[in-house]
């Protein structure tokens, strides 16, 4: 059983469209982080959500932490080709270790 399930695994959309990707679990977490990773590079931290129901915005990206702190979503408005990448959610555990989901690979076509 995967600790974090991300869906969809792959998403290909046209520039200007909106999209939502999900990170789900049956476990409750103290916090959850979203990262973006481009090919051949390390994950780049986008946001940390802490409080159940919390919503954070980063330009065209909106992150929400579920009320029960078991899941999270990332919504992108008016996607651009520069948004292309692998979006990862991650949760902390013992020794500050992060457990990552499998990611959603997003491609935005011009």
């Amino acid at each position: 059983t995967q600790l974090l399930e991300q869906s969809p695994q792959f998403l290909s959309i046209q520039e200007g469209e909106n999209l939502t990707v999900y990170c789900n679990s049956s476990s409750v977490f103290s916090s959850l982080q979203w990262y973006r990773q481009e090919p051949g590079e390390g994950p780049v931290l986008l946001v940390t959500v802490v409080t159940g129901g919390e919503v954070k915005k980063l330009k065209r990206l909106t992150f929400q932490f579920g009320d029960a702190r078991k899941d999270s979503s990332l919504h992108i408005t008016a996607a651009q080709p520069g948004d292309t990448g692998l979006y990862l959610c991650a949760v902390p555990g013992a020794g500050n270790m992060l457990t990552f989901g499998g990611g959603t690979r997003l491609m935005v076509k011009p």
Partner: protein, 115 residues
Amino acid sequence: EPEVTQTPSHQVTQMGQEVILRCVPISNHLYFYWYRQILGQKVEFLVSFYNNEISEKSEIFDDQFSVERPDGSNFTLKIRSTKLEDSAMYFCASSEGRGGLYEQYFGPGTRLTVT
């Protein structure tokens, strides 16, 4: 903006050889980590390090692996006798302090190819 740096960017080695991957964490950070990502797979935790000792390690981090902070700036991962299955991207990360938001900042990675 401070960043984590890693060297080399790409390392090719023969099976059975020792490799050392190097990282310079962000200067005021206290926690250091190694992760790996096999091509097409998830980012996997290897080890966390604080106050000159290992805090946590995964099942992957067996006796072939070791970490060291040889001076005030470098953090290294050594693989004593590499195997084909060690081929992966290895990422170093660092975070500021205990507890809080566990926000980790990753380096660009070292691509290790074992032949």
